[in-house]
């Protein structure tokens, strides 16, 4: 009866069998839909709580494309299903999509090993591609379910990091080299120009008087040369600057990517440390942290820990660069953060006591109900409940006229004038209800329209004989009761008339019709009526 599909987030080879099990379960579930629904549901229309839409072919095809994707193939079935459910597909559509996607052969060990490899690679690329897009939140958790894959992804990402580092180094080296080269070529040029100018000036100073116009010309020429040199220098420095800017840009881009990956790795290593860490007193996954960081519970169930830890990594990641649309995390109280930190370090908060909360007597008897269950306010007006209470009123009217309530805490009956403080309502809410409780309640109730009223439904008086109440509330099949009442009738009739004893002994069940006594006939008809109303 209990349906438990085996949780297997960590085994890829187990996927096809669980898939087959799931689909067979679903198929039988669908088949069972028909008869139970038709048999039951006398009140409402055939269950509104079921999807009655026809299968949408377009959705099924999209799902098939999704499921055929190699990256998706490596993830556990439950996360594939969860993704499709979040997209709004119905169960039937999801099952149909699973049916259409060809399953890999389950028996081949080699293929399962290949699957594991492919899963590792796909999971690594998955994690990298997940960093900017947060669309598939539980999906990437499935992409890296095993403890092995985080390590391998770390290796893959390290590889990538090395690549990046090398590239950056090369760029820097080339930029530096060109800068040095240019400087080396510039400085001698400059120096040579300066020397030339100085030499020419010295020569000119000797021949100043003679060669003034030539001096001026030479000065002009020198100035031109200097200007050319300066422009060359400017050009070179500009080129340097440009290359530096480009380098900076490359650097910043790479640093961003590196930051992201660094934090991923930090979180992964954190969770791995925790997995290896103390198994007895680590803090539990706190509900409040579902938006950001989460500490996984260790030890108790390893598969769950693995699966949850990886999901936790995804939740952790969501805190560092906030994904677009992610709701802001509520600020936690300071003491909460302190306790979380303590637990993460492996310390136990000091105020915890060792309490034995097991039942002292596991076979302790359940108490007898002291009060009859009360009708809910929304059930008022329903035909069933109203008739139920009419019968109760018959029972109560026969001999029970209790006003004092058993519970001792209900003060409605005690006070007529002062009402408990929690009953004082706003002015507009009717106080008619209070009066109605005292007057004939049941007649009023059945006359009331089914619009909900603001009065508290009157409590049925407590029954003196709980067995009678139980018997009336739970109608037994009429056969045995008729036999038992007929036994009683038989005993009564034998007291009345001796001649009837023989007849009743012969046929006790059919004796009801044959008994001619007046009183017994009336009794039997009354009891039969009551039984009929209850059946």
């Amino acid at each position: 009866m209990a349906t438990q599909s085996p949780p297997s987030p960590s085994s890829t080879a187990g996927n096809p069998p669980t898939l087959a099990a799931e689909t067979s379960q679903q198929a039988t579930g669908v088949q069972q839909d028909g008869p139970p629904e038709a048999a039951e549901q006398p009140i409402s229309s055939p269950s509104v709580f079921v999807n009655s839409e026809p299968m949408r072919e377009e959705q099924v095809q999209n799902a098939v494309k999704f499921l055929s994707h190699p990256k998706v193939r490596g993830s556990p079935v439950i996360y594939r299903r969860s993704f499709l459910e979040k997209k709004g597909l119905t169960k039937e559509e999801i099952d149909e999509a699973f049916r259409r996607v060809p399953d890999p052969p389950p028996s081949a060990q080699a293929t399962s090993a290949n699957q594991a490899d492919g899963q590792v690679k796909s999971s690594s690329s998955n994690i990298q591609s997940q960093a900017p897009t947060q669309a598939l939140q539980p999906q990437p958790a499935g992409a890296a379910p095993t403890a092995v894959s985080p390590a391998s992804t770390m290796m893959m990402s390290r590889f990538h990091w090395y690549h990046a580092v090398l590239a950056v180094g090369l760029l820097a080296a080339s930029g530096a080299g060109t800068a040095v080269f240019i400087k080396k070529s510039l400085i001698p040029r400059l120096k040579s120009w300066i020397r030339k100018v100085v030499l020419e000036e010295e020569d000119d100073s000797e021949n100043k008087s003679i060669a003034k116009p030539s001096l001026a010309e030479e000065a002009a020429a020198a100035a031109k040369a200097a200007a050319a040199a300066a422009s060359d220098v400017a050009k070179a420095s500009q080129e340097l600057l440009n290359s530096k800017n480009e380098e900076r840009r490359y650097f910043s881009e790479l640093m961003n990517l590196l930051d992201v990956q660094l934090q991923e790795m930090k979180s992964m290593s954190n969770s791995i440390r925790k997995l290896e860490g103390p198994s007895n007193n680590s803090g539990r996954t706190s509900l409040v942290n579902q938006e950001d960081h989460r500490d996984s519970v260790t030890g108790v169930k390893q598969p769950y820990a693995n699966g949850k830890a990886d999901f936790d990594m995804q939740s952790v990641r969501s805190s560092s660069p906030p994904a677009p649309g992610e709701p802001s995390v509520a600020p936690h109280p300071k003491s909460y953060m302190e306790i979380m930190a303590m637990v993460q370090r492996g310390e136990k908060p000091p105020n915890i006591r060792d309490i034995n909360d097991l039942p002292p007597n596991p076979n302790q008897q359940l108490p007898n109900p002291r009060l009859a269950p009360k009708a809910k306010p929304w059930e008022v007006g329903q035909a069933q409940i109203a008739s139920g209470q009419v019968i109760q009123s018959q029972v109560s009217a026969e001999g029970l006229n209790f006003k004092v309530q058993d519970n001792g805490l209900n003060h409605q009956s005690d006070d007529d004038s002062s009402v408990p403080w929690w009953q004082r309502k706003n002015v507009k809410i009717t106080e008619v209800g209070e009066d109605e409780i005292k007057a004939g309640p049941y007649g009023v109730r059945t006359n009331e329209p089914p619009v909900q009223r603001t009065w508290v439904p009157p409590q049925p008086p407590p029954v003196v004989m709980p067995e009678a109440a139980e018997a009336i509330r739970r109608p037994k099949p009429s056969g045995p009761t008729e036999q038992s009442t007929s036994h009683q009738l038989a005993s009564q009739a034998s007291e009345v008339a001796d001649e009837l004893q023989r007849i009743t002994k012969i046929s006790e069940v059919g004796g009801i019709e044959e008994i001619k006594g007046n009183g017994s006939v009336q009794n039997s008809s009354e009891i039969q009526e009551e039984q009929e109303t209850h059946a």
Partner: protein
């Protein structure tokens, strides 16, 4: 309006369906991260607004939720963080309690709900992705419903159909189940983020409210479940619990990590009809009394339990 200070952080509060003045509070030490728990049974004294403790039960681990029995006036179901479900008889002293401890869930039990129509069974939902069906007299669960891909934070019975219940999960879906069926009968991808609570409308058995981490409450009609009937925005942080009024068709109460308890009328354009900001930490539990119209109770991580009439200030003396 009375206040009660609990030694531990509050997690859930529930009114008794038998006694107007009685309520139970579930608490957990250290915010429920790690530590003991305690169940308090409180009584409203009629004359002066005060809350007195009738009895309290200690547990080894935090208690996340409670459910009063609908058949036995003194029985109380507790959902405990160590995965066990404990049944307490509030008429017996603490030394004779609990009378049952049912340990089947493999992770924290986050919610418990008693069947209000059949009155013989209850469901518990857990972070182990399952919902379990129990009766008080059986030592093992009757059924286990396992389909969610993540923690099931809440499961509630339909108030009219005795075999139908709804579950809200961290996998961002609501699922509707029928205990007579093998699996869930409907899946509603209600939010883009985790769904923390769900509740049925008491007067229209096809309406469900779902409360999510995305700070919104959505009202769904199962007959047309692709689009919500209403989206209630107004909370500043995740909405932790939602409860439809037992007396008014359109009224619902919610509590949130923004420390407020809000009242909504989902049929009105401007749905927020009341806001109470009496808590000084996350407001985590809220309940509306079935026996007394307009009576509200709430509890939070500030270790306080408030009971007040709708329209009044919970902190008023």
């Amino acid at each position: 309006m009375p206040v009660f200070k609990t030694p531990f952080n509050g997690y859930s509060v529930k009114f008794s369906p038998f006694y107007e003045s009685r309520l139970a509070v579930a608490t957990a030490q250290n915010f429920g991260i790690l530590g003991n728990g305690r169940v308090h049974v409180l009584d409203l004294s009629p004359a002066a607004p005060a809350l007195t403790e009738l009895v309290a039960f200690d547990t080894a681990d935090g208690v996340y939720d409670l459910a009063w029995s609908e058949s036995h006036d003194s029985l109380l179901i507790a959902a405990v963080a160590d995965g066990s479900v404990k049944i307490y008889d509030t008429a017996l002293p603490p030394t004779a309690n609990p009378i049952r401890s049912l340990h089947e869930h493999t992770r924290e039990v986050h919610s418990a709900d008693y069947n209000p129509t059949r009155r013989d069974s209850f469901i518990t939902s857990s972070w182990d992705d399952t919902v379990k069906l129990w009766t008080v007299d059986r030592p093992t669960s009757v059924r286990t419903f396992k389909e969610h891909a993540y923690c099931v934070y809440n499961a509630t019975w339909n108030p009219r159909h005795s075999d139908v219940f709804c579950s809200a999960s961290g996998d961002c879906t609501l699922r509707i189940w029928d205990v007579r069926e093998m699996g869930s009968t409907m899946i509603i991808p209600a939010h883009e983020f985790e769904i923390l609570a769900c509740d049925w409308n008491k007067y229209d058995d096809c309406l469900i409210a779902s409360a999510s981490v995305d700070k919104s409450i959505k009202i769904w009609d199962v007959r047309n479940y692709r689009v919500p009937i209403a989206v209630l925005n107004g909370h500043g942080y995740a909405v932790r619990k939602v409860k439809f009024s037992p007396h008014k068709r359109n009224l619902l109460a919610s509590c949130s990590y923004d420390m407020t308890v809000c009242l909504w009328d989902f049929m009105v354009e401007d749905a927020l009809v009341g806001r109470y900001d009496h808590h000084t930490e996350f407001a985590v539990g809220v309940d509306m009394s079935v026996l007394v119209e307009g009576l509200l109770a709430s509890t939070g991580w500030d270790e306080l339990v408030y009971v007040w009439q709708q329209g009044m200030d919970p902190r008023a003396v």
